[in-house]
């Protein structure tokens, strides 16, 4: 049970023992630190985060009602959108103004809300693509097969291992477009792991997935943490968050309104108000795209 795993690890070394449940709270060993990140579209400020630290080796959830700016914040951190102002570091090195592929190579990998399975490529090719620092990916060396044959074989082996773990091994030679929605989510997660990341950022990995598969996806997410990776994921479902998160960050209207352990957040008035006030009161706000 994930709950047991969480509680035992928490007892052994609770990284949040001295961390106050307030927005912008400093963490003992942050993998990502963001400062004054702002993104405006026309007159609308979609993201306005003063300070945020993500603890290494835990699962942090980013929650908030529709239109809270979660995905935009995600896009900013991963280099897919450009912030108007703000700085952030990843593994102690500057990460703002860095292009997304550089961040990916430094170990920050992300998935997308709408899955981006590469349809006209096989599942195996999807996996192999993600392999890091491939000799065969340079235009010149790619023509000399002996230079990359062994590397390719090793990558293939690792890809098959990951596919087995995600129960996709039987589909390795199928085109990715033929997979079901849930299988695509799994493929995207497996593909992200193929890059040997230190921080995995999942944008609503459970959206549109049937309940049975949700459990399996949750299992995979906790497994990532148990292997020493840090996880940040965007999620709506409070039950899911309470089950697996070590730490929860809540955004509303672009700013961080609360931070804390799942238990702290569950009783937080600002969070409840944000969810009830926006989700049910004014539906026309819409998601910030």
């Amino acid at each position: 049970m994930p709950d047991d795993a969480l509680s035992t690890s928490a007892v052994a070394t609770d990284p949040f023992a001295d961390v106050p449940a307030t927005p912008g709270a400093p963490k003992p060993d942050p993998i990502l630190v963001a400062d004054g990140v702002r993104r405006r579209y026309g007159g609308l400020t979609a993201v306005d985060v003063d300070h945020l630290e993500l603890q290494r080796g835990v699962i942090t959830s980013l929650i908030g009602p529709n239109g809270a700016g979660k995905t935009t914040f995600f896009n900013l951190l991963t280099g897919f959108d450009k912030a108007n102002e703000g700085t952030w570091t990843f593994e102690g090195e500057r990460a703002d103004g860095v292009r997304p592929h550089h961040l990916a190579r430094r170990g920050m990998v992300r998935t997308f809300q709408l899955t981006k399975a590469l349809g006209r490529m096989t599942v195996l090719d999807n996996m192999l693509l993600a392999g890091r620092d491939q000799t065969g990916e340079s235009a010149l060396t790619s023509l000399l097969r002996p230079l990359w044959r062994d590397e390719e074989a090793a990558n293939t082996e690792r890809a098959h291992e990951l596919l087995t773990r995600f129960k996709l091994d039987a589909l390795a030679d199928e085109y990715a477009a033929g997979l079901s929605g849930g299988q695509r989510k799994l493929l995207e997660m497996a593909r992200a792991l193929m890059t040997d990341p230190s921080l995995v950022m999942l944008d609503e990995p459970m959206a549109g997935v049937n309940p049975a598969l949700t459990q399996s996806l949750l299992g995979h997410v906790t497994a990532l943490r148990d292997e020493g990776m840090s996880v940040l994921f965007v999620e709506h479902d409070m039950d899911v968050i309470m089950t697996i998160s070590d730490w929860v960050v809540c955004m509303a209207e672009g700013t961080i309104i609360a931070e804390g352990r799942p238990a702290d957040i569950a009783g937080n008035d600002a969070v409840i108000e944000a969810y009830l006030g926006i989700d049910h009161g004014n539906t026309t706000t819409g998601e910030i795209r």
């Binding site: 991963t78 897919f80 292009r99 997304p100 592929h101 550089h102 990916a104 190579r105 990998v109 992300r110 998935t111 997308f112 981006k116 590469l118 349809g119 006209r120 490529m121 090719d125 192999l128 693509l129 993600a130 392999g131 890091r132 491939q134 065969g136 990916e137 340079s138 235009a139 790619s142 023509l143 097969r145 990359w148 390719e152 085109y175 990715a176 477009a177 033929g178 593909r191 992200a192 890059t195």
Partner: protein
């Protein structure tokens, strides 16, 4: 003309230089469009670079190798100049900018003030005598073939031999490329460039490489057309030539190794056969009508292909199905 004659005449074009030069140009376009998803609607500009590189070299007496070098260099410069600004933008922009630039270049080349360099509207002639393209031709004079309609002379055979050899070399090179991890990145970019980015690939650099390589192959095709015809003028390098190359690529199977070759052969056969058939059935036809009819056929063919068989002749049905999802 007998129906056998119509058939043989169509076969002659389909195996001859026209198909060879289209196959070469389409191989370049296939790398860009078929494998990388770059909608370059100004492919003809790269052919123009190759043709004028050769013609200018002939005009100045610099020789055939300088001609190739000039064309290739011009194609690389053009690809970088177009690619660096537009390959960062949405795909729509590339299509609009390339078609526009191809037309700009053609107008600039054809304009009177350019006469010293390009011969303006008159163009440049005398390529074969200045460059000695036919000098190494070891095929003895005479005509080779069957009957009166399927005949090649020695010069035609030489052009065919050189051009089909280039097609083979280019195709084998592309084959090695697209089967490597490098080609895998290109295909990933075609499918979804943000996914490739998120996995650490420098998308703009790959697109640029594909654009440059495809452009260089296109310039070789242009140079071959110049060498074969012996003269270069601005009238040939218009947008419909690019569209014909698209038809070839899609007909053969976009994103397949041998698609451009098969596409070029079938394209020329069908067009010439239809031409001959039209003349047989409806002999009172003027040249304008016949040319227009031919293009109408190409246009309808392109539409029907795209709608009903987007994978072309060689494409994988499953893969095409995948693209529709």
């Amino acid at each position: 003309m007998s129906w056998l004659g119509v058939f043989l005449l169509a076969l002659q074009t389909a195996l001859g230089f026209p198909a060879a030069s289209y196959a070469l140009a389409a191989t370049g376009l296939n790398l860009q469009f078929g494998y990388t998803g770059l909608s370059n609607f100004g492919m003809v500009a790269f052919l123009m670079m190759g043709a004028y590189g050769m013609a200018i070299s002939a005009d100045r007496g610099w020789g055939i190798w300088v001609g190739f070098a000039l064309g290739i260099t011009a194609a690389v410069v053009l690809a970088l100049l177009l690619g660096i600004p537009t390959l960062r933008l949405r795909a729509d922009y590339l299509s609009v900018v390339t078609i526009a630039t191809a037309e700009i270049l053609r107008l600039v080349i054809a304009a009177r003030p350019s006469a010293d360099l390009t011969g303006a509207a008159r163009g440049i002639g005398g390529l074969s005598s200045n460059l000695g393209f036919f000098k190494p031709n070891f095929i003895p004079e005479g005509s080779y073939g069957i009957g009166d309609d399927f005949v090649f002379n020695s010069r035609q055979l030489w052009s065919m031999l050189v051009c089909w050899t280039l097609v083979l070399l280019a195709t084998l090179l592309i084959r090695a490329w697209v089967r490597s991890p490098w080609g895998r990145v290109l295909r990933a970019i075609r499918e979804d460039e943000d996914a490739a980015r998120a996995l650490g690939k420098n998308v703009v650099v790959y697109k640029l490489q594909s654009f440059v390589i495809g452009g260089v192959i296109g310039s070789l095709a242009g140079a071959m057309i110049a060498l074969d015809s012996g003269s270069v003028g601005p009238a040939r390098w218009i947008a419909p030539l690019t569209f014909a190359l698209y038809t070839v690529v899609i007909l053969g199977g976009a994103g397949t190794v041998w698609g451009p070759v098969v596409g070029a052969v079938v394209y020329w056969f069908v067009l010439d056969f239809a031409d001959g058939a039209l003349n047989n059935l409806w002999f009172d036809v003027s040249d304008t009508t016949s040319g227009a009819f031919r293009l109408t056929l190409m246009g309808i063919g392109l539409m029907l292909l795209m709608v009903f068989r987007p994978q072309g002749i060689l494409g994988n049905k499953k893969e095409a199905f995948a693209s529709a999802r």
